[in-house]
């Protein structure tokens, strides 16, 4: 872990746009990931199955095209974005809302295995020195850093008052291009993003290609289009076997062989609650 002063040549240029650039910026991981073109993908912790899929697909598109995904390692959309970038073989930067040792010491559950992967293919970044643990104000300050590190920001899902909207506001102040993913009208997880689009504050984002064009890249490696009808039927989140069968108009008994083959190939998985989900 090293500390970068704003005077350092390796200090990310984007951060100098901030009125008070982090001094120093603590970095743990691959320094060069801070120099490549980057996209911030953020959103609510209370994501829906739709939001998880979109965040993952956007991040995978970026990862495959060599665009770094910046996010905040929170539950929900943030970690779906980190995971997507890593799974596509790309790099990702996690901007933490507390000091790096505090996160490493306290993070538990499904996000914990992300830490070593991010340090290897990207970096953990924080503007807070050890031993600072999390305080509410730190997360709001961190949201500005996320916006500044990227040249484009995407809000995938945000409810009313979601922290992702703070990142969106900072992105606009800093002159970064702001995108929002449109969601179903009436979905509480999409109230914030739909409002951004409706008020003309953000551009509606409808594909990973559109995002990559905004950073001046074209999708070199396309994410293979999902042709398998089972995988397609799981686009809006996990389904019970019976619901999957009903959607595909097939008897559940006939479906199991095909679903099991997909599970073993790693394309889909079964959740702790017994439902089947995309990987």
């Amino acid at each position: 872990m090293i500390a970068l002063a704003p005077t350092d040549a390796r200090y990310p240029a984007g951060l100098r746009d901030l009125s008070r650039p982090p001094d120093p910026l603590w970095v743990d991981g691959d320094m060069t990931s801070l120099e490549r073109p980057a996209v911030a993908i953020v959103g609510t912790r209370r994501m829906t199955g739709y939001g998880e899929r979109v965040a993952r697909e956007l991040a995978m598109g970026c990862g495959a095209a060599g665009v770094v995904v910046v996010s905040g390692l929170a539950q929900g959309i943030d970690s779906a974005a980190h995971r997507g970038a890593l799974d596509a073989g790309g790099e990702t930067v996690a901007v933490l809302g507390e000091s790096i040792p505090a996160t490493i010491g306290t993070l538990r559950g499904r996000r914990r295995p992300l830490l070593p992967r991010i340090r290897e293919h990207g970096a953990l970044v924080s503007e807070f020195a050890a031993p600072l643990g999390a305080r509410p104000w730190m997360f709001a300050q961190r949201d500005a850093t996320i916006a500044a590190l990227a040249c484009v920001a995407v809000v995938v899902e945000a409810g009313e008052g979601s922290g992702a909207l703070i990142t969106a506001a900072h992105a606009r102040t800093l002159g970064r291009r702001l995108y929002a993913v449109p969601g179903p009208i009436g979905s509480s997880a999409s109230v914030g993003t739909n409002a951004l689009i409706a008020q003309g504050l953000a551009t509606a984002l409808v594909s990973a290609d559109q995002l990559l064009r905004a950073v001046g890249q074209s999708a070199v490696v396309r994410v293979a289009p999902q042709v398998d009808p089972i995988i397609d039927a799981l686009r809006d989140g996990p389904l019970a076997l019976d619901d999957l069968a009903r959607r595909l108009r097939l008897p559940a008994a006939h479906l199991s062989l095909r679903v099991a083959a997909l599970v073993l190939s790693g394309a889909v998985g079964t959740q702790p609650d017994g439902r089947i989900a995309r990987r």
Binding site: A240, L241, D242, A252, S256, V259, V263, L264, T270, R275
Partner: protein
């Protein structure tokens, strides 16, 4: 009545019980000259020692004489702890025999608690004790009238007596009583829930059928009100009745717990136990001193239903691991150890998340992803590893609620019975009955896979999506699926479905 001046030691057959293990005990009573005293030796517990007061009062109030001499009762063999009030009758008859008030040798097994007025009260655990005595060559039993049917059901010539006086009269041949008739097995209650009453839920119903046939453990996950409990309550209606030898063991456990119907002591239907989630580990796996059977043993040969699984304390659930693996539970205490059978089909139900609405089309889930993860993490890995069938019970759309009536329980039960018959033929002579009990060696010989099935199992192992144990458990389920379909060879769809229900991911 004159007391005969004899110092002969009286010997009365009785029986002690440790768990389900019964051993003959001879109650020896000696009446000797000396200061008036009455002691009971041979490792009696408090209840046995208190027999002195009951016996003294009962003898006097029955019109007999309690000797004003030195009376010693010994429960032989003396080195094991004896518990309970069942020795009262034998001790009283021993005192009467030693003092010549009973003139005939007593060869019948005597079991019963005495009231102070001399009436004979029923005791627990008559069935296993009588079975133990039969094994030791004692065929006659004298016990309380309430216990007579139970003793007769266990195969003894059972004489029910209401009072100490009538026991003496019977033994002396003055007023011989007729042995109790062997009672019919308890009637099988009509299951409250029939599968035909539940619409939709094809996969959960299929999983229920697999659990009923092969004894595999089942976990149902779904939002509140989607029918998880209803499905579980339908399970007894899918299980075939008890075999006679199973019925005796299951009834014996209930007898030790004092839960048998005195008139119909022999169970016919498989037990279905559903302890509340506040249950302690004592209640669930048994315990206490002396150790009593818990719910997992009372559910032996039947099903144990744990509703709201994550609400059970984790420590309590972890104590279930041994009985689920071994099919029995040994409760060791300082004074005694007892082993109870515990071969159960575990059925559990839980919500998908703390608020209950993850994946619910009717209501939005308000839980954060980490909270959902913690909720599932409450169930320990080793316990979840022993769950063979995990199904989601989703909220049904209106068209599914309305759709075709499904098979009635009777039809499924016939299929289950046929599958169990195949399993029994395969496991003949091993003492085991269901596919859930197949050993690894038996899996190799009995689970013959076709090419597709073999490729799937190989891939599951190679991709490390399942451990070797996980694959074995999935193959047992696949064996049951093939048995239900009446096939010898396990097909690809059997293994695929088993892997999906196992949650290979």
């Amino acid at each position: 009545m004159a007391v005969a001046a004899t110092t002969n030691v009286a010997r009365i057959p009785s029986c002690a019980l440790w768990g389900l293990e019964a051993a003959p005990v001879t109650v020896e009573v000696d009446v000797a000259n000396g200061l008036p005293a009455f002691s009971v030796v041979g490792l009696p517990d408090a209840a046995v020692s208190e027999a002195r007061e009951r016996v003294r009062a009962a003898i006097r109030n029955s019109g007999y004489e309690f000797p004003l001499r030195r009376v010693v009762a010994n429960l032989a063999p003396a080195e094991r702890k004896k518990e309970g009030t069942g020795f009262d009758l034998a001790i009283a008859l021993g005192v009467l025999r030693a003092t010549g008030q009973v003139t005939h040798e007593v060869t019948a097994l005597c079991l019963g608690e005495l009231a102070l007025d001399g009436s004979v009260r029923p005791v627990r655990g008559v069935m296993p004790r009588v079975r133990g005595a039969l094994g030791a060559g004692v065929a006659d039993v004298v016990c309380a009238e309430e216990n007579a049917a139970e003793a007769a059901a266990a195969g003894a010539k059972a004489i029910g007596v209401a009072t100490l006086r009538s026991a003496v009269a019977h033994l002396a041949g003055e007023a011989p009583r007729a042995p109790a008739a062997v009672p019919p097995p308890a009637p099988i209650a009509r299951p409250a829930i029939d599968l035909a009453d539940i619409s939709g839920h094809e996969t959960p119903k299929r999983a229920l059928e697999i659990a009923a046939a092969g004894g595999h453990s089942l976990l149902m996950v779904g939002p509140p009100g989607t029918g998880k409990t209803l499905l579980a309550r339908a399970l007894p209606g899918l299980m075939p009745p008890l075999d006679p030898d199973e019925a005796v063991i299951a009834s014996a456990v209930h007898s030790v717990a004092g839960l048998v119907d005195p008139a119909r002591p022999l169970l016919a239907a498989r037990p279905f136990r559903s302890p509340h989630h506040t249950a302690s580990h004592l209640a669930l796996v048994g315990g206490g001193s002396p150790p009593r059977p818990g719910e997992v043993s009372l559910a032996h040969t039947g099903a144990l239903f744990l509703d709201e699984l994550p609400e059970f304390s984790r420590q309590v659930l972890d104590t279930l691991r041994e009985p689920l693996e071994e099919g029995s539970i040994t409760l060791s205490r300082a004074a005694s150890a007892a082993t109870y059978p515990a071969r159960v089909t575990l059925v559990a139900a839980m919500n998908p998340c703390p608020c209950g609405h993850a994946g619910d089309a009717a209501a939005a889930c308000t839980c954060l992803p980490d909270a959902v993860e913690r909720y599932h993490a409450r169930l320990s890995g080793p316990l979840m590893d022993r769950i063979d069938l995990r199904v989601n019970v989703p909220r049904l759309a209106y068209e599914a609620l309305r759709d075709e009536g499904s098979e009635p329980s009777r039809v499924v039960r016939e299929r289950v019975a046929a599958a169990r018959e195949r399993m029994r033929a395969r496991l003949a002579g091993t003492g085991r009955r269901t596919n859930a009990e197949l050993t690894v060696a038996e899996i190799r010989t009995h689970c013959r896979l076709d090419d597709v099935a073999d490729a799937l199992a190989r891939e599951a192992m190679r991709s490390r999506r399942l451990s070797a144990r996980g694959v074995h458990r999935a193959l047992r389920v696949a064996r049951t699926l093939a048995d239900l379909a009446g096939r010898d060879r396990i097909g690809g769809e059997d293994v695929a479905f088993a892997l999906l229900l196992r949650g290979a991911a």
